[in-house]
């Protein structure tokens, strides 16, 4: 096979080595525009996982590379004048230049042709003259640009502005430094890679970067400014430059990594933000997978390339997802600068979703012990303290103290007692309607009269007997009322036995739903009274927590959203107008609800449409609710209109929203969004992304097996 590889970076060289090793008859040439010893940036990081793959692929280079490695198991976090250290990680790094020397010499030894200072004029000409052309030419890949359209290539900036320096000091850990300046937070990602030098990446969001004047500095000036900024941490050492210009990280994605006999490898095909340190690892793994695909399908170009994509694309997608989360974290980290060091550090370590409470407990049991103890004692931990994980820490709001942070919810009143007995701290009933006309469906329970309150009192007693506190989600369906039971569907109107709907404006909710009548001032006063009366009945029934429903497009939420509130009076228009009625209701409920019990709000913080309620408005509403006596925001999103283009459903889809509400509105949050495991809850709670987690525990075969009665008495088996 005649192979032309464009780009003599780690991926291109690694592939050349492996192809030649697999079959010395392959004619492999690597073409590089730069000199053999030209390289930008400093050290590159690896995780242990890659090294195994490298060892299996080519033991010779593996040995040389690992002999050169700087290795360390620790992550240092420098924040607010403190150093927090997490151990048990497995990092190794090597100078990029040294890595290339090793690979170049191995490639030469195997008979790979290496051509440096060689520019490719036309990739198509190269492709016509070879069996296989490999674009291993990095983030600015000429090969990718040549076939941008058929490959479905997307390139764009991601994350903060950054500059990649070296430093003449040897760190003994992967080090994150967070430095507060007048212009905003600036952070450093630094790690050692040989016996003299460390990589030292400085980054900050674009606004901070401009305010600090970096946008107008040349390389020398910005070096001096960064040295001055991190003088304490550098302790007399110097920063080093190697074309260390401020830039944006470029995110590269391609729908396909091959076109005809041309294939992309490493950064040319996909990039992963440097803050998870996986770019070189992914590139070298690509090379290994591609060479193996040709071992499986010798001479079958198309089959081998499809095989390579099938194997690598899912892996790369997962890393790009994690890298995207990590890059986004660093752009908003300033919002967490009020957090105590312990949750701040855990939030940082778990930012990409790859590290969780459970797997950190494996890597660094002491860190997790200290976190758990700190969390349990509300920041007052003692040396040597032990405590259960965050979900089992009690939570106090006023006179209400929940035994733990786990919330379970059920629409069916008869399930509440069981949920309390299953161990939850708080059991949430509802939705419960404040009036008969406020029901969603005929089977929606109500608190509209004293009789309904009496029935609820029994349910609340059951919850209390189970050791949990009881909460009720109290609301009015608005334009989503008078529908069939949710057991059949949602938002399918009743044909017979329905009732008239009310809303801020006469706009039907969805297909076949009737238009509601717009509320008038008198109706609104009456509704406020109905909410207050229902709140008094809820208190009388013994509920400990009242959650007022301002989510999912029901009556109060439909006032907040410009998509459903088109009123021209004082109850519509700008955000203050749209908030007016929901706040009046909150005020009425607050007066009716005992002061020593918790008043919460379920708040739809965004619609997920271009013209609907945006998250920044949702956060502003959360702030306003807190100022009006709301002690907990149960974060929801969407359903304000039925066809929301940005609707997003996956595990934990509400967590990023709860995190922003908590960090920016500074109000405690309750988050659900299909969280099914204790590990998800412990990670969210420990990292301060929410205060309470609503868990949905799926049915388990194992439980059925454990609980199943034996079919017949177990008899002793006689041994012959």
């Amino acid at each position: 096979m005649r192979v032309r590889i464009v780009g003599a970076g780690p991926a291109g060289l690694q592939l050349a080595i492996l192809l030649k090793k697999a079959d010395s008859a392959h004619e492999v040439e690597v073409v590089e525009r730069n000199a053999p010893d030209a390289t930008f940036g400093w050290g590159v990081v690896f995780s242990e996982e890659t090294l195994g793959a490298l060892r299996d692929a080519d033991p010779e280079t593996h040995l040389q590379i690992t002999d050169t490695f700087a290795r360390w198991p620790t992550v240092d976090i420098r924040y607010r004048g403190r150093l927090l250290r997490s151990r048990g990680h497995a990092f190794s790094a090597i100078a990029r230049r040294r890595l290339l020397e090793i690979l170049q010499s191995r490639a030469r030894e195997l008979g790979v042709g290496l051509r440096f200072h060689a520019e490719i004029e036309d990739v198509a000409v190269l492709a016509a003259d070879a069996d296989l052309v490999v674009g291993a030419d990095g983030v600015n890949s000429l090969v990718r640009r040549t076939y941008g359209e058929p490959l479905g290539a997307h390139v764009g900036p991601q994350g903060c502005k950054f500059a990649w320096f070296g430093a003449d000091l040897v760190l003994d850990a992967f080090t994150f430094i967070f430095k507060q300046t007048d212009a905003g937070l600036v952070q450093v990602h630094a790690y050692p890679f040989d016996e003299r030098t460390s990589t030292w990446i400085v980054e900050c969001p674009e606004g901070t970067w401009r305010r600090l004047g970096f946008d107008t500095m040349d390389e020398t000036e910005s070096l001096a400014a960064c040295e001055a900024l991190f003088a304490d941490e550098l302790a007399g050492h110097r920063l080093l430059t190697n074309r260390s210009l401020w830039t944006s990280f470029m995110l590269v994605r391609c729908d396909s990594w091959h076109h005809g006999n041309v294939v992309l490898l490493g950064d040319a095909a996909h990039t992963a933000h440097f803050s998870i340190g996986s770019g070189t690892k992914l590139a070298m793994e690509d090379a290994i997978a591609l060479s193996q695909a040709f071992v499986r399908h010798p001479g079958e170009i198309e089959r081998a390339l499809v095989d390579y994509e099938l194997e690598r694309q899912p892996v790369v997608e997962r890393f790009q997802q994690a890298a995207g989360e990590s890059a986004a974290y660093f752009t908003r980290v300033e919002r967490y600068a009020h957090m105590e060091p312990m949750p701040f550090a855990f939030n940082l370590l778990t930012r990409s979703g790859r590290v969780t409470h459970a797997n950190l407990a494996q890597r660094d049991p002491q860190f997790v012990r200290v976190l758990d103890a700190w969390f349990h004692a509300a920041g007052e931990s003692r040396p040597g303290a032990v405590a259960p994980p965050p979900m089992f820490a009690p939570w106090r709001a006023g006179a209400v103290e929940l035994r733990n942070r786990v919330v379970r919810a059920a629409a069916e009143p008869e399930r509440l007692g069981e949920l309390a007995r299953s161990g939850a701290g708080l059991v949430l009933a509802g939705p419960v309607a404040v009036t008969v006309e406020g029901r969603i469906a005929p089977d929606t329970p109500t608190l509209h009269d004293d009789e309904s309150a009496t029935a609820w009192a029994e349910r609340v007693d059951e919850v209390h007997a189970g050791g949990a506190h009881a909460a009720v989600l109290l609301g009015h369906a608005g334009r989503r009322g008078s529908t069939h039971s949710r057991a059949l569907a949602a938002d399918v109107p009743l044909r017979d036995g329905g009732w008239p709907l009310v809303a801020p404006s006469p706009i039907a909710y969805g297909p076949r739903m009737p238009a509601p009548r717009a509320l008038e001032a008198g109706d609104m006063a009456a509704l406020g009274d109905a909410f207050a009366a229902a709140a008094r009945r809820a208190a009388g029934a013994g509920f400990d927590v009242l959650e007022l429903d301002m989510g999912h497009g029901y009556l109060l939420a439909s006032f907040l959203s410009p998509a459903s509130n088109r009123r021209g009076d004082a109850y519509g228009g700008d955000l203050a107008g749209r908030m007016r009625f929901p706040l009046e209701v909150l005020e009425a409920v607050r007066r009716a609800w005992p002061e020593d019990r918790l008043l919460a709000v379920r708040l739809g913080v965004m619609d997920g449409t271009r013209r609907g309620l945006q998250l920044r408005e949702g956060i502003a509403i959360a702030r306003e609710l807190a100022a009006h006596g709301c002690g907990l925001v149960h974060v929801a999103a969407g359903q304000t209109v039925p066809e929301a283009a940005q609707a997003d459903y996956r595990r934990g889809f509400l967590t990023p929203l709860a995190d922003r509400v908590r960090a920016e509105a500074r109000v405690p949050t309750l988050v659900g969004g299909y969280l099914t495991t204790p590990d998800e809850a412990n990670t969210i709670l420990g990292a301060g992304r929410a205060d309470l987690c609503l868990l949905e525990v799926p049915e388990s075969d194992l439980e059925r097996q454990v609980l199943a009665a034996p079919p017949e008495p177990v008899a002793a088996v006689a041994l012959a």
Binding site: L310, R486, A487, P511, Q639, R650, G672, Y674, P698
Partner: protein
């Protein structure tokens, strides 16, 4: 988990009478469901017509569209067709609907491509509204698609989710999206989860060629779909196990070669 089999109604050159024979054999075997695909601008048999023919010669097996492209069709006629297949089969229909992926189907039908999501929602609401067009209100509905709006539509109107194929881990991810939406919409319990895959036991080159052609509109993905064709008993067993572990309720295996021997070989591989 139940395992069903597809009818070869979208394999070009297939003799229409073969569908009838295929349905008879499936009904005599252990397959839970007979399912059809839907494509307009392609050499194929109409999904509702194929299921009506199958209904006539079967007694037991469930009948399903996996999926039919709802917004290609006039809503009232779609509801009438579904209700009719359900009636002639004695209530054995599961109606899977989605917005479709192929522009040429919409162009051929002379129907706008834009707004098809909202039109599908309208159709689902009409189906659930029931009665007027003779459709049962509790007709089992599935909705396919992998976007947030598709999951929301599924959770709002349907009984479950119809996945569009791929390895078990892709199904697992989509199933989490479906369950998340189900709970967010306040539906009790959990959604039914249906999955699908392609197989060819023997004649695998013909199977791969069909998949390349059928999915040519996806460009580079056609090759990958062809590479995912299940061509051995072991691959089928692994696939079935993977789907069962991911919580699939009903897995439909679609043939890529229109030969009744394929059905027998699949039954044998699953035995």
């Amino acid at each position: 988990m139940n395992v069903g089999i597809g009818l070869p109604n979208t394999i070009p050159g297939m003799d229409g009478r073969l569908l009838v024979e295929w349905a008879r054999r499936a009904d005599a075997g252990a397959f839970s469901t007979l399912a059809v695909l839907d494509r307009l601008a392609y050499d194929s048999v109409d999904p509702f017509c194929a299921l009506a023919a199958a209904a006539a010669v079967t007694e037991r097996v469930g009948l399903a569209t996996m999926i039919a492209i709802g917004p290609l069709r006039n809503t009232a006629l779609l509801v009438k067709q579904a209700a009719s297949v359900d009636a002639v089969s004695g209530g054995r229909l599961t109606l899977g609907l989605a917005i479709g992926a192929r522009l040429d189907d919409f162009e051929t039908a002379g129907v706008a491509h834009g707004g098809r999501g909202a039109r599908l929602s309208e159709q689902l609401a009409t189906l659930r509204d029931g009665d007027r067009l003779g459709v049962r209100r509790d007709l089992r509905l599935l909705v396919g698609g992998s976007t947030g709006p598709a999951f929301a539509r599924m959770a709002r109107y349907a009984d479950g989710y119809a996945h569009n194929g791929g390895p078990p881990r892709a199904f697992d991810r989509a199933a989490a999206g479906a369950r998340a939406a189900w709970s967010d919409l306040g539906r009790p319990g959990r959604p039914l989860l249906w999955g699908q895959g392609y197989f060819a036991l023997g004649d695998e080159d013909a199977g791969a060629a069909y998949l390349r052609d059928y999915y040519a509109f996806t460009g580079p993905f056609a090759e990958r779909i062809a590479a995912g064709n299940l061509t051995s008993a072991r691959a089928i067993k692994d696939f079935v196990r993977g789907y069962a572990e991911a919580g699939c309720d009903e897995l439909i295996l679609f043939p890529t070669v229109a030969d009744p021997a394929q059905l027998d070989r699949l039954a044998e591989a699953l035995a």
